[in-house]
Amino acid sequence: MQPNPPKTPRAILDAQGVTKSFGAVQALRGASLRVGAGEIVALMGANGAGKSTLVKILTGALRHDAGTITIKDRPVRFASPAAARRAGLVPVYQEPALIPDLDVGQNLRLGATPVAPFRHWVDALGVTGLRMDDAIGHLPLATLRILDLARALAMEPDVLMLDEMTAALPTDLVDNVLRVMRGQADAGRAVIYISHRFPEIARICDRATVLRDGVTVGDLPIVPGVEEEVVELMLGQRMTPAVAATGRSAAKGTARLSVAGLSLGSKLAEVSFDLHAGEVLGVVALEGQGQDELFEVLAGFRRAGSGRISVDGTPVAFRHPADAIAAGLTFVPGNRADALAMGRSVRENIALPGFAAPRRWGPIAMQAEATRIGAAIDRLQIDTRAQGEVRRLSGGNQQKVTIGRWIAHGVQTLLLFDPTRGIDVRTKRQIYELCRDLAAQGAAVLYYTSELAEVPQACDRAIVIFGGRVVAEMPAAEATEAALLRAAYGLAVAT
C-alpha cells in the first residue's frame, strides 16, 4: 500500500510478517516493524489494531505463530520477558514495574540494576531529591514512571520500548524524556515509541509504523503534515456507513443527566456535558483518556474529586452503585465478566437487580418473574439454548443478558461502556437498534465505544475525551471516523 520505507541504517530490531491467533481470533495477520540504529520509530494503530499483541510478542510476554524477529541480525524467539531483556530489548510500560512495598534501592537490587548509571539518568531526566530509601508506595506516579525509565536506561538496552511514556507526566518532565530519547537515538540505539500524542511524535520520531487489523499498513517518515496520512492509514479504506441516526435533536429543556465540571485526580478535568431523554450520546476516546473513570463515577463505583452531577435537574451524589440505580443510572461495564454471575442461569442474572433492596428479599412471585424475564429475553432475542449457565453463552448473548437485566427493570438512563467489544456483527446491529428503540421510548443512553464507526450508527451526538477533557462535540452526521480520530488524538478540531 505504501512505497517501500526509506532505507534506514542497519536494523537493530527487525520483525517481519508476525502472526498470532487467539483461538478463532487472528490478532496479528502480518505485522512488521523495523527499527534501525539511531532511530526513533512510532508504533501507531487504532484500538484493536494489534499494537499491544505485537508489543507483547516483542517483549517476550507472548509467542508468535509465524514470522521472523531478529535483533542485530540474530533470529530470536523469546521464552519470557527476561529473555527479551537479556537480548537487549527493554520495555517501559504504562504501569511502573516497581514493587510498592520496597524502597528504591531494594527495587534496583531486585532487577540487578547498576546504581550509578541509574542515578545519572534520574538526574538527567530532571527528578531531584530522590533518596534510595524512599518507599516506592509513597512516590507520585510521575516520579515512578521516570524511575522506571531511568532503570531501563541504566541497563543500556539496544532497543528501548516506551508505551505511552508521557501519559502521566507534567510538561517539563515530558520535555526531559523527549530530550533523553533523542540522545539515546543519537548514541546509536533504537527506540520504539508508542503514543497517542501526535505533537510528541512529530517532535522526536523519525518514522511511524502503522498497524491496522493486525497488518502493518504503512511505514512513513515523519514530515510536516504526515498526520493526515497516518489517520487515513489507521482507518483504511472503510467507507463511513450510512448514517442510521436521522440527526434528530432530542427535546431540549432540563437534561436527564447533566455533568458539570467533573474532575478526578489526574484522570478527569472539568468534564461537562448534558444528556437528554430520547438521546443516545456517544463518548469517544482512545485508551486511558479518563472514560473509565467517568463511567465509574456516573455508576456510583467511585466518587469524583469535584464537580456536579444532576439528574432531571436535581443534584445527586453517589456513594454506592445502589444510589446511582435509584437515580435511574444503570451501568453495563466493558468487561462482561464483571457484570455476570457466570455459573448462574440467564433468568437469575436478569432478575438480579430486583432483589437488591432488603425489602425485596422475601418470596419471589415465580410466575410474574418468568413472564417479565421472558419478555426481556424475547426483546433482546437472547439465544436461550444454554440458559442454565451464563458462562456457556456466546459473548454476544452474554452482553445481551447484562443489558437485558436493566431492560427488564425499566431503563431511564443507560450507561453502556463499549457494549460491542468482541461480539459478532449481527449482535452489534441489534445493540445499535436497541439503543435507538430505548431512546425513542424516552430513555437516555450514554454510549462509550472504542469503534469509531459505530458512532453514526448508534448515536445522535458524540463527545470526544482526550486527556480527561471533553475536547470536541459533534452531531452524528459529522462524526466521521476521521473527524473523531483527529479529535481523539488531540488534534485541533473545529467545533
Binding site: A341, R344, G388
Partner: protein, 324 residues
C-alpha cells in the same frame, strides 16, 4: 464431542452428575447401607434407621450454616461454638426463668455472635474463615467465664427438647417434627426468595451483585445472623438428644458439618450447591460412622478414611465442574 460415540455415554453421565449431584449421592448412600447389611446381616432394621436419622438431624442442621455461608464463598466456623453456648445457657437459665424464657434468652448470645460475624465479614471485610474462627473462640471464652458464675445453680433440659431429642413417633425420631419444616424452609429460602438468589449471586460474582445495586454488607449481616440462629436451634435440639450440656457439647460436629456440605455438592468457592445435597451428605457421614465403628476401626483409621473420602469427593466435583 468429536471423539465419537464411545465417549458420549460417559460425558452424559458426567453432565448428569454435575447437574444433579444428588442422584450420585443417593447411590453412594444406598451402596454404603448395602455394604453395611453385607458385613453385618440383620443390622438394618427400624431401630437402626431411627437412630441414624436421629443423629443425622443435628449434623444436617449445623451443616445448613456451612451450606448457606458457602453459597457466598464463606464458611461459619463459629457454628458449633454458638450451638454449644446456646445449649449451655439454656440449660442453666431454664431452672431460673422457666422453659420458654430460658430458651429465648439462650438465643440472645447466638444473635450477638451472628451480628459480630456479619460486622466482621460485611463491613471490616475480614475473611469469613478467620472471622468466624475468632468469634467462635471469643464465644467459648465468654462461656467459660459464664460457667464459673453459674456452676452452683444446676441445669435442666426442658421436657419439650427431651421429647424432640429422644422421643419417637411410631419408630421415627421426634426430631423430624422440627427438621422436616426446617429443611422445607431452607429449600424454599434458597430457591424461591430474593435472599436466596442473592446468596448464590454474591458467591458467583460479588462485583456483579454490587453492580446490580446490592449493598453487600446488608446481606452478610442477615446471612451470618441467620446462620447463628440455625446453630442456636441445633444446640437446643442437641441438648435434648444428649440430655446434658458441656463446654464442648457440639464441637465434635463442626468439621463433619463442613464435610457434609462439601460432600453434598456445595462449592466452598461460592455460587453453587443445594441444601438437599447437604442433607444426603449428613446421612452419608452418619452411616459411614456406623460402618467404621462396626469394622472396629481404631480412631486413627476412622479419621484417615473420613479425610480421604472428603478429599476424593471434592476432587470429583472439581473435575465435573471444570469440564464441559
Amino acid at each position: 464431542m468429536t471423539t465419537g460415540t464411545v465417549q458420549a455415554p460417559f460425558a452424559r453421565i458426567g453432565r448428569l452428575l454435575r447437574d444433579y449431584p444428588i442422584i450420585a449421592l443417593l447411590v453412594l448412600l444406598v451402596a454404603l447401607i448395602v455394604l453395611l447389611q453385607i458385613l453385618n446381616p440383620g443390622i438394618i432394621n427400624q431401630r437402626w434407621i431411627g437412630n441414624t436419622i436421629k443423629f443425622a438431624i443435628p449434623l444436617a442442621m449445623l451443616a445448613a450454616c456451612q451450606t448457606f455461608t458457602m453459597y457466598t464463598g464463606g464458611i461459619d466456623l463459629s457454628a458449633a461454638a454458638v450451638a454449644t453456648i446456646t445449649a449451655f445457657v439454656m440449660a442453666t437459665q431454664v431452672p431460673h426463668l422457666g422453659d420458654a424464657a430460658g430458651i429465648a434468652l439462650a438465643l440472645v448470645p447466638a444473635v450477638l455472635i451472628g451480628l459480630l460475624n456479619g460486622f466482621g465479614v460485611g463491613i471490616c471485610r475480614v475473611h469469613p474463615l478467620i472471622m468466624t474462627l475468632g468469634s467462635g473462640l471469643i464465644g467459648i471464652g465468654c462461656l467459660q467465664v459464664y460457667q464459673r458464675s453459674t456452676i452452683a445453680t444446676g441445669s435442666a433440659i426442658p421436657p419439650v427438647l427431651e421429647w424432640l431429642g429422644t422421643g419417637r413417633t411410631f419408630w421415627l425420631p421426634n426430631g423430624l417434627w422440627l427438621f422436616v419444616p426446617f429443611a422445607a424452609l431452607m429449600l424454599f429460602i434458597q430457591r424461591r426468595t430474593g435472599f436466596g438468589r442473592l446468596l448464590y449471586a454474591v458467591g458467583a460474582n460479588e462485583g456483579a451483585a454490587r453492580l446490580s445495586g446490592l449493598r453487600t454488607w446488608q446481606l452478610y449481616f442477615a446471612l451470618y445472623t441467620l446462620s447463628a440462629l440455625i446453630a442456636g436451634l441445633t444446640g437446643l435440639l442437641y441438648a435434648g438428644i444428649i440430655r446434658t450440656t458441656s463446654l464442648s457439647l457440639v464441637e465434635p460436629l463442626l468439621l463433619p458439618s463442613v464435610a457434609a456440605a462439601v460432600i453434598g455438592g456445595t462449592s466452598i468457592f461460592g455460587g453453587r450447591g443445594s441444601y438437599a445435597g447437604t442433607i444426603v451428605g449428613a446421612l452419608i457421614l452418619t452411616v459411614l460412622g456406623t460402618l467404621l465403628t462396626l469394622l472396629q476401626m481404631p480412631e486413627g483409621g476412622r479419621q484417615i478414611i473420613f479425610g480421604g473420602i472428603i478429599l476424593a469427593v471434592t476432587a470429583i466435583y472439581m473435575r465435573l465442574t471444570e469440564t464441559g
